[in-house]
Amino acid sequence: MKRRSFLTRLGAAGTMGAMGGLAAPAIFRGAGQAWAQGAEIPIGLLFSLTGEVAVVERTLHDAALLAIEEINAEGGINGRPLKVHIEDPASDPATYADRARRLFIRDNCVSVFGSYTSASRQAVLPVVEQRKGLYWYPTLYEGRECSRNIMYGGAVPNQQQQDFVPWLVENFGGRFYLLGNNYVYPKEENNVCKMLLDQLGGEAVHEEYVPLGHSDFSSVINRIRSTGPSLIFSTLVGDSDVAFARQFHAAGFDSAKMPVASLTRSEVEVAAIGGEAAAGHLSSAPYYMGYSSPENERFVEAYKSRYGGDQVTHFVSEAAYFQVYQFKAAIEKLDPAEITPEAIRDAAVGVTLKAPQGEILVDPNLHTHLWPKIARWKSDGQAEILVQSAERIAPEPYWAYAGETCTGEGLVRS
């Protein structure tokens, strides 16, 4: 070995030493302080900024951060600014669990806003429940969960389907081709859909699940051709949805005769699909970027001016945004001395708020009353709202399961 190469190795060891030096200060950091004493209110953001779900989660991060900045610009909540701790869980469940520990235990956050996928929510759940924290989850999900430590801002199956499925049967017929990715959310949505089809006299002509990220739909398209359904009921997510939409369009199907009716497609996916291939297909969601309300105009305007004119808002980022305001409304009801996650949760129940989608309400079961809308995508990437639900729809996470109800006391079995 030459002396010089030994020296370069020493240099590399110096890099390593620097790593060790970085590691040291964390060791001496003590436990946090009581919530009530500080002037700032500590909260956390736990959305992936890197990795495969970062495309969506960054928009949620941005929307929540926008709300936080708006609140702080107006002097905080009851004069106390929000101190935001930002973590990047890198799309990895184990990292979510680790960063959630940091936010709840080390940083003493009274609330953390985070997660898009069910897997990441489930990874965070043990530490939230063990530490009696409060986790604000903005995403639509499969329901059948009734944690007392999670605030659910997104739709559960009954909110997206109870108006949508009957409307689809009436307008296109009752022969549904159920297509989704292979995980718990599509399966559960389809369980609910099949129950509704039973009641309406329709049927599921085929039910099919492809792996997450699956992108070759030629055999699916052949099966669609041979079964000839009234419509495709889709719970494909992300890249799979984009690939399917393009191939479905390329196969020459007419969206006016056999549309894809999706529970998961938002402005983000439509932008990736391209306006022409997405045009004419249908979605059911509580919010669209093009919905006209003064609150939404303000939200879209603020979002674009903060993050750029080419950015889109969608039904999950809207929830990420309004959940921060629900949090604010809850804190405003509390004495500064009694701000704890549990007190915030209890104060949040019953809070009504003018969100971009309409006036929403927090149910005692910690889910949110929402305004589902049926819309048709246009070639400019925006949605044209066809049917606005007549009334705010209550969340029923155990809708399809007789004898189980999610209440203010948790899950009740009768």
Binding site: M1, A12, A13, A26, P93, A119, L125, P126, V127
Partner: protein
């Protein structure tokens, strides 16, 4: 070699003392910090398991996460059954969601903790044994072993995701009960739990070191250098390779069980390529020729990752990547190699050898 042995022993003792006394004291016996460090220690176990097969016998197992993940799922299955005891038929919730009506037979053994603990070691070992027979009897070596193990890992992960009726699919196994270890309800934020994991790490290192220092270890090192020559000496090379491969798998399964305890869920990402390659990186950083070196590598990289992600929320992955590249370029034998080189130099200087002799001796090593 004696001098190196002495230095190695000293290193072992320093490491064990640091884990048992230094770290808890430095962390101020804080529950959160200890929990985080216990996670690093369980990862250190799987790193030293890889060093056992890679460093000693030259078998680069890129699918180490497979056996690690099986261990994690075994433990999680037991805890899931405990948590589901109140359900009708004791059926875990996710099975009900997937329209499974009764508990599948292969879940039944996991109702018993003892059986679970045994299977957590035995299943990975058996699997590795079967793979080992297939690979090593056919005299597959080097990069092909790496490819086969990696392919197996990918297949296993797909299978775990596909079979969501029985494995929880993408979400994995969540909503687990705390472990009741023969009457002791394990609080993962306690000092006791930290010492449980630390004790397991030390035990795994001792077992590994005994193998490395035994005659078997000598044969394995010989196989690493020149398997053909060892074969001509009359040794059954495949048997030795299969043995170390299975032992490494059992230790990885052990680490997986602890990991599921720390994080309180099992996820298919534990069987992922990214995680498996991360293990290789830790071992490369620490030095694959030393089990303790690999363990230290795992701990240091994870500490650095934790610290960097705290300071550079946006770019921590990038910084980490650059560091790994620097390591591979300038320290191919890892920190252990560097230390050994340093020790060797100091010792030689003390014995008054000229640099010329030292260089000659070094090349002779």
């Amino acid at each position: 070699m004696n001098r190196n042995n002495r230095a190695d022993y000293l290193g072992h003792i320093v490491f064990i003392l640091a884990i048992l006394l230094g770290v808890p004291a430095l962390l101020g016996f804080d529950g959160f910090e200890l929990n985080t460090f216990a996670r690093y220690l369980s990862l250190a176990i799987v790193a030293s398991a890889l060093a056992l097969s890679w460093g000693t016998a030259g078998i680069l197992n890129l699918g180490q996460a497979a056996t690690f993940g099986i261990g994690a799922y075994v433990m999680a299955m037991h805890l899931k059954l405990v948590a589901s005891a109140g359900n009708p038929d004791g059926l875990p919730d996710f099975m009900g969601w997937n329209n499974v009506t009764s508990l599948p037979w292969f879940w039944l053994p996991f109702q018993s903790l003892t059986v679970t603990l045994i299977l957590g070691l035995a299943l990975p070992a058996l699997l590795a044994w079967a793979m080992g027979i297939f690979m090593f009897r056919a005299r597959i070596t080097g990069v092909f072993v790496a490819i086969i193990t990696l392919a197996f890992l990918v297949a296993l992960q797909l299978w775990f995701i596909e079979e969501q009726r029985f494995t929880g699919g993408q979400n994995g196994l969540t909503g687990l009960a705390p472990l009741d270890l023969f009457g002791w309800s394990v609080d993962t934020y306690s000092l006791g739990f930290y010492y449980l994991v630390a004790g397991c790490l030390i035990a795994a290192l001792v077992i590994g070191s005994l193998i490395v220092r035994s005659k078997v270890g000598l044969v394995l090192r010989a196989i690493r250098e020149d398997s053909q020559r060892v074969r001509y000496f009359g040794y059954d090379v495949a048997r030795y390779e299969t043995f170390v491969f299975s032992t490494s798998a059992a230790i990885a399964g052990w680490a997986g069980m602890l990991y599921a305890l720390v994080l309180e869920f099992a996820s298919p990402t534990y069987i992922g390529v990214a995680f498996s390659l991360a293990i290789v990186i830790w071992v490369a950083v620490g030095g694959r020729e030393s089990l303790v070196g690999a363990a230290v590598g795992a701990i240091l990289v994870n500490l650095a990752e934790g610290r960097l992600s705290d300071m550079f929320v946006e770019s921590w992955l990038l910084i980490l990547g650059v560091m790994f590249i620097l390591f591979v370029l300038f320290l191919p034998r890892g920190l252990y190699g560097l230390l050994r080189q340093g020790f060797g130099r100091i010792a030689r200087l003390r014995e008054g050898q000229g640099p010329k002799d030292a260089r000659a001796q070094e090349s002779a090593q």
